[in-house]
């Protein structure tokens, strides 16, 4: 477990991701959330400043209320339906993305490239893979249809120039290639890591550092990335997790199943 420290407070990398990602959300938004950090971050935002934020789960849930200590292990089980407004068939909840009701799609990532494409299908050549990974699930649908936030650990082996396989499209080959492929809406909006907050250049669609986590240098971010990063003209340092943010997180996940 990576320990981070600021002032008298210590926190894990996963907790840092949750806090930073939560701060990117806005009250009133509809957020399609994956399990683990995305769900925790969206719930943290609800508790801190966004009481009117609605969470959607791929299993078919609209607006559940998460019971502290009973976090669902996947987005498809009965725990996902507690105090929900509605349950729908899977296909119909995914179609809400296509219809345009979703503001933010929010997922974790295994491998990402400089254009924000994500791979969760194959490590190595798809015809002779070193590792067959579980695949897209709804990842391809979410990334094709809405603005995405990805939260992941910042490691060189995960941040590669080109992903081995595009499971969930980001900006594909940059510039207008996403729209030209038939994906006129959405795109990868923000990447949150334990080192930095990143977006994408408006023109070229290459990954660009917007802010650094507390105590992290530009060199550290670049050293842990497998391609050359762009840096925004004004790179700020984000405020470390506040005590009340960490307290809420620990109340939600007391067994540290997703924040260890």
């Amino acid at each position: 477990m990576t320990k981070h420290q600021s002032g008298g407070t210590t926190y894990t990398a996963s907790e840092l991701l949750c806090v930073m990602a939560a701060r990117l959300l806005k009250d009133g938004q509809t957020v399609f959330a994956g399990i683990g950090v995305p769900l925790l971050a969206a719930t943290l935002a609800q508790h801190q400043f966004a009481p009117h934020l609605t969470i959607l789960f791929e299993g078919g849930t609209i607006g559940p209320r998460i019971v502290p200590g009973e976090l669902p292990p996947s987005t498809n089980e009965q725990r996902c339906t507690r105090y929900a407004n509605m349950v729908l068939p899977i296909t119909d909840v995914l179609l809400l993305l296509q219809r345009g009701y979703v503001d933010i799609g929010f997922m974790g990532g295994a491998q990402i490239d400089r254009f924000g494409n994500l791979n969760s299908s194959f490590i190595g050549d798809a015809d002779n893979p070193k590792t067959r990974l579980p695949g897209t699930g709804g990842g391809n649908d979410i990334s094709s249809l809405t603005n995405m936030i990805v939260a992941m650990k910042h490691e060189k082996r995960r941040f590669v120039p080109d992903v081995d396989f595009i499971t969930s499209p980001g900006w594909i080959r940059g510039r207008r290639s996403r729209a030209e492929a038939g994906l006129p809406e959405g795109g990868l909006w923000r990447v949150v890591t334990d080192l930095a907050l990143m977006g994408f250049d408006e023109e070229t669609r290459e990954m660009k550092v917007l802010a650094l986590q507390h105590g992290v240098t530009r060199e550290q971010v670049q050293d842990n990335t497998g391609f050359k990063l762009l840096f925004d003209r004004k790179v700020e340092t984000v405020e470390p997790p506040r005590k009340e943010e960490l307290a809420t997180l620990r109340r939600l996940d007391p067994d540290r199943r997703f924040t260890a």
Binding site: E77, V87, G182
Partner: protein, 323 residues
């Protein structure tokens, strides 16, 4: 992938449906009898999703009946599909995601069979799986959609995925071929002897799968009377004339969950993951011997899971009814 074989010709679909006995008749039978409705080489769609409402008892019966060469499809595949591969019943799984679950990491069994090219894991996006079943349910040959474009997932499907320019707007769209499974296996909380099924909780893709399939085998926690169904017809989700067999199997999704009745048997799923970690093939074979081939009955299988585990899963499952 040949495009022809992907979509059932409309004439055939209609003829097969007309040929079925669609009268309001009783169709209660045993797991073993229902297994005879599945032929070698069939495309079998599994209801539920991931760890939820998995038709495990029927899968258990198909593995014991040593079926062969089944193509299996599911919205999200979990350990049940591992076991369909390891038992030799299937060499082809069509799904959007395939592993026991995030908390157990990537399935070693799925990896062994796919990485060594002993089986095919045909990957579609989750919405695409759903729209393929829905097109099948609607009696149309394809459904247009706006995902899988520009991705490796779409590209890898070759002729399985087509694109077209929309004749109304000029936009580029993906076309998903309809999926009409030969057989659907669906587990529900309750149904009557005719197959009118009521579902609690998440419905997943089950309604579309039932409508799309050429035969449906329902397993159910409880068989209730047709009179009881008729008191709350708004709760009925699957109509009797799509159903060919009804099997009453209590705790029929174990070790997975059935909404409002039991949650997943987490310790048992840990045991399975542990058994298949070191040597996926031997672990899966040992698991199949112990839990699939040795038990005399489904009740005997549940005894092997253990009374403590059954009670714990039921306590957690029923807790959704607590305030």
């Amino acid at each position: 992938m040949s495009t022809q074989s992907l979509v059932t010709p409309y004439r055939k679909l209609r003829e097969d449906t007309l040929a079925r006995d669609r009268g309001l008749r009783e169709k209660v039978m045993s797991l073993e009898e229902a297994a005879k409705l599945v032929s070698d080489g069939d495309h079998v769609a599994l209801g539920g999703c991931h760890l939820s409402r998995t038709p495990y008892a029927m899968i258990w019966a198909l593995i014991r009946a040593r079926k062969q060469n089944l193509t299996v499809s599911r919205s999200i595949a979990s350990s049940e599909s591992d076991l369909l591969l390891a038992s030799g019943v299937s060499r082809h799984v069509v799904t959007s995601w395939f592993s026991q679950g995030l908390i157990w990491g990537v399935s070693k069994v799925m990896r062994h069979y796919t990485e060594n090219k002993l089986a095919v894991f045909e990957e579609w996006s989750h919405m695409s799986m759903g729209l393929r079943y829905r097109a099948g349910a609607m009696g149309i040959p394809f459904m247009p959609s706006r995902t899988m474009l520009g991705s490796g997932v779409g590209e890898r499907l070759g002729d399985g995925l087509k694109t077209m320019t929309c004749p109304f707007t000029g936009e580029e769209l993906a076309l998903l071929p309809a999926l009409n499974p030969d057989v659907a296996l669906i587990h529900v909380q309750r149904c009557d002897a005719y197959g009118n099924a009521q579902l609690d909780g998440l419905q997943f893709m089950d309604l579309d799968i039932a409508m799309a399939a050429k035969r449906v085998i329902l397993t159910t926690e409880r068989i209730i009377s047709n009179e009881q169904i008729r008191r709350t017809p708004d709760q009925t989700r699957i109509p009797f004339f799509t159903v060919d067999a009804v099997v009453e199997v209590q705790i029929g999704c174990a070790p997975h969950e059935c909404y409002g009745v039991y949650e997943p048997f987490f310790s048992h799923l840990d045991e399975y993951a542990h058994m298949t970690t070191e040597d996926a093939v031997k672990g899966a074979q040992d698991y199949l011997a112990r839990y699939y081939y040795e038990p005399k009955s489904w009740a005997d299988y549940l005894s092997k899971l253990g009374m403590d585990a059954v009670l714990d899963a039921c306590r957690r499952g029923r807790s959704v009814h607590n305030d």
